[in-house]
């Protein structure tokens, strides 16, 4: 029983107990706080699993942005309800049903655990093929090679999927509110601490984000992580009230969202003539093309993430603060 295994066991136990807390917490607020901590701990688990890129993404997106989204939701729900967010939850299904579902879920978890223990040895893997084809892609980070070379279609589609999601969020506006500004990230009240943070942190964050994008070609990092950091900085500025949320009709921002996938498709189509297949790169030009795609995609994903966080547009407030 080595030290690292002890650490791993400890981590796994803490993660499981946090998950139990999230499910068993009496109020939504506590569950969401638990979820944020859970996200950050999962990032450490990913480091232990040797996946630094995933750890970065989980910490920023899974813990950070998702936590922000859910915390905001929990706070807004407390305005509307029948069930106070800080109080007792609504009555759920009867105890018998819960017991039945509990037994079912335990069985499923046990079955999956058995499957995990019975997975074949030696483990099948594509790592060797990725490694041997890496020089052809020109990048040093194998995860970037998978994302932008071998399985570029998945990355393209994932950037495209963000657009209907964003539109779906926008669609929940009222017809009158369509021309307004999104309302989820508006500040409740300005505090000096938040304002200071929002003035000091974003420049550092932006530089860090751009750095993450640049080194992603050869080291852990890349456009997803960079985009999440940039989106978080923008969200911070909005939350502190230093800037207003952008209108959904804004042409430059709409163009920013589509330019990434469009450039990607353009390069992919040109690959049919230059390199014999859709989404193939001509020999020797792979790395510059990959960097170009990553740059525009970083922009698009940043804007899309901010719009996803910012919520549906709401009618502009009149001068005295009423809608």
């Amino acid at each position: 029983m080595t030290i690292s295994l002890v650490v791993d066991i400890g981590l796994a136990l803490v993660v499981l107990s946090l998950a139990l807390w999230i499910i068993a917490a009496t109020t939504v607020y506590r569950a969401v706080i638990g979820f944020i901590v859970y996200g950050l701990l999962l990032a450490i688990v990913w480091v232990r699993l040797g996946a630094a890129d995933v750890a970065l993404t989980e910490a920023a997106l899974g813990g950070g942005l998702t936590g922000l989204l859910l915390l905001g939701a929990a706070a807004r729900l407390s305005h509307h309800e029948c069930v106070p967010v800080f109080g007792r939850p609504a009555a759920g299904p009867v105890v018998g049903f819960r017991l039945l579902v509990g037994i079912l879920c335990t069985l499923i978890a046990a079955g999956l655990a058995a499957v995990v223990l019975l997975l074949p040895e030696p483990a099948p893997s594509l790592a060797s093929e990725v490694a041997s084809n890496l020089p052809a892609t020109g990048v040093g980070n194998p995860v970037t090679a998978v994302l932008l070379a071998y399985r570029a279609i998945d990355t393209l589609l994932e950037a495209v999927v963000l657009v209907p999601a964003m539109i779906g969020v926008w669609s929940l506006a009222t017809d009158q509110g369509w021309s307004g500004r999104p309302g989820f990230l508006t500040p409740a009240r300005r505090t000096s601490a938040l304002t200071l943070l929002a003035q000091v942190l974003p420049p550092v964050g932006i530089v860090f984000g751009i750095h993450l994008f640049w080194i992603g070609a050869d080291h852990p990092g890349g456009k997803f992580q960079a985009a999440v950091v940039l989106a978080a900085m923008w969200a911070l500025v909005l939350l502190a009230g230093l800037r207003e949320p952008p209108r959904v009709g804004s042409p430059p921002l709409r163009l920013a969202v589509v330019v990434g996938p469009l450039v990607f498709i353009g390069i992919g189509v040109s690959g049919i003539w230059l390199a014999d297949a859709f989404l193939a790169y001509p020999a020797g030009y792979a790395k510059p093309m990959i960097l170009a795609i990553e740059a525009v995609l970083t922009l698009s994903i940043t804007v899309a993430l901010v719009f996803l966080l910012a919520g549906p547009p709401a009618a502009d407030r009149s001068a005295d603060g009423r809608r």
Binding site: G111, L112, A114, V115, L118, L119, P120, A123, P124, S125, L126, E129, V130, N133, A149, Y150, R151, A152, I153, D154, L157, E158, V160, V161, V163, P164, A165, I167, G168, W170, S171, L172, A173, T174, D175, W178, G249, P251, R254, L255, V257, V258, P261, L262, I265, G268, V269, G271, I272, A275, D276, A277, F278, L279, A280
Partner: protein, 522 residues
């Protein structure tokens, strides 16, 4: 300029592209989606209208290519090997569905020009931008599901479909439709995550996510490892939640009835069929040995439950759109009968699955025929509801005289569903009945007869009310446009005339598929 040489020249050019042709159905809707967002709301409907014929041409070219060569069309994206990269493949099954969805999407796209146009003086409306953008999203997601060969790529396709379909349900902003959309989203997300878990277990066992490579490895193994059985069960369960098979059907009726008519047509006719298509892929292509197991009988039993439950509840509905939505539930049940019927005659259980060829064709005929008929019925029901201001079945009196073409379209669609000659459903039932008789499983035929009776019953109820009313014609709040009525009528006619296809064409769903040798596990 003469039209026929132009069209045939275009088709020949497309077919000559070979595998690269498959990129077009994929990228056309996606590019449309991005252009609509960039260029803005006024032109959204017109951009889509321009792209629709190109999509139809591409789908027709795929069918022509598969038909000519008798083999599937394949393409490696990025030029990487199958283990490392993602492959696209269109066999006969995919080709049929690509063409069906292209036709339905064309009809819906034309129909929806009117309700979602931007009025003069406005640069954009919420409903217009959202609808057309999500329309392209649904179209792109469908095409990707039909041609992709990679399990994770299919997961992304399913998510694209979900994200595009859910906001369409809540488009009108009422509380009930928002609740319906949220319930749909939760079911769909549960389905996606179970599907992904299954894909993860497949990777963990074989180190690849390509369907052909996995099928190859699984076929050589006997007995199946626990991880593979668990993966198949999880993926099937997840996809069943998305297809709304009984008992995971709760989300479908409010969602399909609450969406705007054009969106309901897309949802009922095509979106639920995409997840069913994936279940077919998993059971027929990935792991055909599953068909000899109890699982196939369970799926068939659930299908029967859906047929009876959907049919009985449809009888009780007071609103037209809800009746049509419950009818979808029932019709989806028919599709699941292909699983128990796919086994050949009982004595030859270890024979190749090609011993029961009519089953897959029958299932496809049912699917295509239902897609055309249901889309026509939802759009017709939408026009009726808009004209009368409500869609209570009891208050439909006189609508038959006021909107004859619309009611005719609805009626033809309904008759096509009941299996009237020469509709596709009639042919489908004949083929499935034949397979049931051959394999000695007569109880499935009984279920199909019962379903047919229920369908006829609830349709007669609608016809009775719609065609009655000899007094004053009802006051119409809005008349549908002539072109809308004709498009819907055309779609309904497609469904009822499907059975007139030359019988040689019925071999299309079987083309390009490797005949699997199924041995029963001890």
């Amino acid at each position: 300029m003469p039209l026929y040489p132009l069209v045939s020249g275009l088709l020949t050019g497309l077919v000559d592209l070979g595998g690269t042709l498959l990129v077009i159905p994929l990228m056309l809707p996606v590019t449309g989606l991005l252009l609509i967002l960039a260029i803005g709301g006024r032109y959204a409907g017109r951009i889509v209208l321009a792209l629709l014929p190109l999509g139809l041409a591409a789908a027709a070219a795929v069918v022509a290519a598969v038909w000519e060569t008798g083999d599937a069309l394949s393409y490696q994206l990025g030029g990487w090997t199958p283990r490392l990269g993602v492959a696209l493949k269109a066999d006969g099954l995919s080709a049929v569905l690509l063409l069906t969805s292209a036709i339905v999407i064309l009809a819906v796209g034309v129909y929806a020009q009117r309700p979602f146009r931007v009025p003069q003086g406005l640069s954009e409306t919420r409903t217009s931008l959202v609808f057309w953008l999500l329309f392209c999203g649904v179209w792109g997601g469908l095409n990707l599901v039909f041609v992709s060969q990679d399990l994770f790529n299919l997961f992304v396709a399913l998510e694209l479909l979900t994200f595009s379909a859910v906001p369409l349900v809540s488009l009108d902003g009422r509380g009930e439709t928002i609740a319906a959309a949220l319930r749909y989203l939760l079911f769909a997300l549960l389905g996606s995550v179970l599907y992904l878990l299954g894909a993860v277990l497949f990777y963990g066992t074989y180190g690849t996510l390509d369907i052909a490579l996995l099928a190859d490895q699984i076929a050589r193994v006997n007995p199946l490892p626990a991880a593979v059985i668990a993966a198949a069960a999880l993926m099937t369960a997840g996809l069943l939640a998305k297809t709304a098979l009984f008992p995971l059907h709760l989300w479908l009726p409010p969602a399909h009835a609450g969406a705007p008519p054009a969106a309901s047509a897309l949802l009922s006719a095509l979106v639920v069929k995409a997840s069913f298509f994936l279940i077919l892929r998993i059971w027929f292509d990935l792991m055909p040995v599953l068909l000899t197991q109890m699982g196939a009988q369970v799926l068939g039993a659930l299908g029967v439950a859906a047929i009876l439950y959907g049919g009985l509840l449809a009888l009780r509905q007071g609103r037209l759109k809800l009746l049509v939505a419950y009818s979808t539930l029932a019709q989806l049940g028919y599709l699941f009968l292909v699983f128990p019927l796919a086994i050949g005659p009982g004595a030859a259980r270890s024979a190749s699955l090609v011993a029961a060829p009519g089953v897959l064709t029958g299932g496809m005929l049912q699917l295509v025929s239902h897609a055309f008929a249901k889309a026509a019925m939802f759009m017709a029901a939408g026009m009726i509801a808009a004209a009368l201001g409500q869609d209570q079945i009891r208050k439909l009196a006189g609508i038959g005289r006021a909107l004859p073409i619309t009611v005719l379209a609805f009626g033809i669609g309904g008759l096509a569903l009941t299996g009237l000659l020469p509709s596709g459903a009639y042919l489908a039932k004949t083929l499935l009945d034949g397979a049931a008789a051959e394999s000695g499983q007569w109880w499935w035929s009984l279920a199909m007869q019962a379903g047919g009776l229920l369908t006829a019953a609830y349709l007669i109820r609608v016809f009775y009310h719609a065609l009655s009313g000899f007094g004053e014609p009802p006051v119409l709040r809005a008349r549908p446009a002539r072109y809308q009525e004709l498009v819907v009528l055309g779609l309904a006619l497609c469904s009822i005339l499907l059975g007139l296809l030359p019988s040689a064409m019925l071999a299309l769903p079987e083309l390009g598929r490797v005949a699997a040798v199924v041995t029963e596990t001890p």
